[in-house]
């Protein structure tokens, strides 16, 4: 009695309640129908639980009921931002199983279209990343340029978003006559806009403050989580299937693997992931220019094939460097014209799994930026 008790006060002893916030499936910046269950301490993220599957379309089950060419339109719809790149590993796998050599011209056109689509994808990635940061204008500048690329695709394949263009043993249709000039003019335009975007968005001080030292992904964690593409390369990992396991004719071109090196912050932060995409667009431009130079304009775009595509009994895992990373298809053939099983290794699916690991301890606004920097497409996550 009469004793005064000294009250010890520490910040951590404050009885603060944690808030569970449900981000998505309808939210402006979850890039689709991703749902994140976020636990917040004030504004600091303490836990992130992604709930996916809102866009699940049973791709793998569908494949078992369809013939090999019929699968291609479904593959388009996996990662609808870069459908050309998506089709490639699949048709490459079947061509490998059947032992088909596609004509030289086809390889060049495939490379050019894949690289154009890579540019288009990176444009969207940077644009939406800027949009997450609140910069609306660069978004539209990049989308304007993307439309030019889509026009080329439309001229060749007839579709603007879902092409169904890479067919087993060749292409659906030949390119138009002024193809080379059109592509070169696009390359020029892309470079011009990139200069502007660098000034307007990427090297803006506010933007750098937002993305530097945020969502740091060390290289060993990236490998362990199976990250690929710009996410892995942003962590300083020179992992590019075009160089490491050259498929098609990528060994004929001279280009660099861009890696993040902590230009404004730590290696592996959001800025690095984004700047890798930005510089990769330049590398794609280089590849396109070389391909355009070497490409033969005459010749057929389709190899002679049996009427029904029946790969021999076997299994193959083909992978290609998607704009988002390694896209793999595990194709199991049972000798009929329908696949036994197709397992797709969705790039975004794997890249997204790293999100809970790298977003802990940052502010809620950073979580959105980290999610944007991982660049997912929910069509591929959920398949």
């Amino acid at each position: 009695m009469g004793e005064t008790k000294k009250v010890e006060f520490e910040y951590s002893q404050i009885d603060s309640e944690r808030m569970r916030l449900n981000v998505g499936p309808q939210h402006p910046s979850t890039h689709g129908v991703l749902r994140l269950e976020v636990e917040l301490d004030g504004e600091i993220v303490t836990e992130v639980i992604p709930h996916i599957g809102y866009l699940h379309r049973c791709f793998e089950k569908h494949c078992e009921k369809m013939t090999y060419p019929q699968v291609i339109p479904y593959i388009d719809r996996m990662d609808y931002i870069c459908a050309m790149n998506n089709e490639w590993p699949y048709v490459m796998g079947i061509e490998k199983l059947m032992g088909i050599e596609v004509p030289e011209k086809v390889e060049y056109i495939r490379v050019i279209f894949a690289e154009l689509n890579r540019i288009a994808n990176h444009q969207i990635a940077i644009a939406t990343f800027g949009l997450d940061a609140g910069a609306f204008t660069p978004f539209l500048y990049l989308f304007r340029d993307r439309e030019f690329i889509l026009s080329i695709f439309e001229k060749a394949s007839g579709g603007r978003l879902l092409y169904n263009y890479y067919w087993v043993g060749g292409l659906a249709a030949d390119v138009h006559k002024e193809f080379k000039e059109d592509v070169l003019s696009i390359v020029k335009q892309v470079r011009e806009t990139n200069k502007e975007i660098a000034d307007l968005l990427l090297y803006n001080k506010i933007f750098i403050e937002r993305v530097a030292n945020v969502g740091i992904l060390p290289a060993d964690v990236a490998i362990s989580y199976g990250c690929s593409g710009p996410v892995a390369r942003g962590s300083g990992l020179a992992f590019d299937l075009r160089k490491d396991a050259p498929y098609s004719i990528y060994d004929r071109f001279d280009f660099d693997v861009v890696t993040g090196h902590g230009e404004v912050g730590t290696v592996g932060d959001c800025f690095d992931r984004n700047i890798v995409r930005f510089h990769e667009m330049e590398q794609s431009c280089r590849i396109i220019e070389q391909a355009i130079e070497q490409m033969p304009m005459d010749g057929d775009v389709r190899e002679k094939l049996p009427k029904k595509i029946r790969p021999p009994k076997g299994e193959i895992y083909t992978k290609a460097e998607n704009p988002k990373g390694e896209l793999g298809f595990y194709i199991v053939s049972n000798g009929t014209d329908k696949p036994e099983r197709i397992k797709s290794r969705g790039t975004s699916f794997v890249n997204l799994s790293v999100l809970p690991e790298i977003s802990k301890g940052y502010l809620f606004a950073d979580l959105i930026m980290i999610l944007g920097s991982v660049d997912i497409v929910l069509g591929e996550v959920d398949r």
Binding site: P28, S29, G134, F136, T137, N204, E209, A365
Partner: protein, 355 residues
């Protein structure tokens, strides 16, 4: 400023021989102005953002889409007015009106010209500042009463933001008050009469020695511009409603007319801060060129065009910049703006002492 000038109020009193009618006219005129201005500003925002982004903007309503804001207001009026079940209804319903009232009350002291100011009180600057702070209460009410986590986060962010940014803004205003030795906006305006080098942006009226303080006044202008952006929740300081994070921040749950109120309040606030910039730094209703096009009627023109320039600057900035993060926002005000504002204050004080 003791000379007898015929103000709008006096003129209407003389005309109608009724104080009440004069009062009503003087009160309603800014409201009418506000409504018309809001429509113009909404259209301006739509069109400027569109042209910056190489779009055309609204084109279907009227020639070049010029009645688009009217259509939007009509749409908002027609919309269902939803009050969430779990919301605190009295607060929820009151918040937008409080916001709008606060924004509109600021108009009471804004001098549109030398002969027209709704209320020429001596504490005009103080009053306008107090009214600006009142908006915070509306924000918190709206955000808290919505019973939505996004709204709550947005409201709390905006309180922290607005209160923090008031400090550099207040110091800058204080500096101007020191320079003008008055808080009456009319006096501050009248002080800057003559050519444009008499504006406080260029150190106010004085001898060539004022060149020394021009960098100080110029940085004060920048400070106030930035602080005013933060106070009106515009990009790059729109974190309370940061659409990519908080969906719509404190007005996530609002719809229909109540949302329109928030919307109007934002645009009204934009004008108030723009007007304040033009009054404090750009001579308000004074013509930039001495007696050329000067006078009570031209005053309205100069004042509104100067204010619109700053409304345009706000829109321009919004469509250029990304958004800051909440802790960086605080860092900017406490670590950068407040110290610099203090330095400016001392510099001006010293200069006045030795002048």
């Amino acid at each position: 400023m003791e000379q007898q000038i015929l103000t709008l109020y006096d003129w209407i009193v003389k005309l109608s021989s009724s104080n009440l009618i004069a009062l009503i006219v003087v009160i309603t005129l800014p409201l009418v102005f506000l409504m018309v201005y809001a429509l113009v500003a909404i259209l301006g925002e739509l069109k400027i953002s569109a042209f910056i982004q190489e779009r055309l903007g609204p084109m279907r309503t009227g020639p070049w889409g010029i009645i688009q804001p009217v259509a939007e207001v009509v749409k908002l009026l027609q919309k269902e007015d939803i009050t969430p079940d779990a919301a605190n209804k009295p607060l929820f319903n009151m918040a937008p009106f409080l916001m709008f009232t606060a924004a509109y009350a600021g108009f009471a002291v804004i001098p549109f010209s030398s002969h027209f100011v709704p209320a020429g009180i001596n504490l005009g600057l103080f009053y306008i500042f107090a009214m600006g702070s009142l908006a915070v209460i509306g924000l918190v009410m709206g955000g808290w009463a919505s019973n939505n986590k996004y709204s709550l986060l947005g409201a709390l962010r905006s309180v922290a933001q607005i209160i923090s940014y008031e400090i550099p803004a207040a110091i800058v205003i204080l500096t101007i008050v020191v320079l003008a030795s008055s808080m009456n906006l009319q006096v501050i305006n009248a002080n800057q009469g003559g050519w444009f080098w008499n504006w406080y942006l260029f150190g106010g009226p004085g001898t060539a020695w004022k060149l020394i303080i021009i960098p100080v006044t110029f940085s004060m202008f920048l400070l106030y511009l930035v602080a005013s952006l933060a106070e009106t929740n515009r990009t790059p300081f729109d974190i309370p409603e940061g659409e990519s994070e908080l969906v719509a921040g404190y007005h996530t749950e609002y719809s229909g007319m109540k949302f329109a109120m928030f919307f109007f309040a934002e645009y009204a606030n934009m004008f108030v801060v723009a007007a304040l910039i033009s009054i404090l730094f750009f001579g308000g209703w004074n013509s930039p060129f001495g007696d050329f096009m000067n006078g009570p009627i031209w005053g309205v023109f100069w004042f509104i065009s100067k204010s619109f320039v700053f409304v345009f600057v706000q829109i321009w900035l919004r469509w250029t910049l990304p958004r800051l993060r909440v802790d960086q926002l605080m860092g900017v005000t406490w670590k950068v703006m407040t110290p610099i504002a203090f330095i400016c204050f001392f510099a001006i004080g010293l200069w006045l002492m030795f002048n």
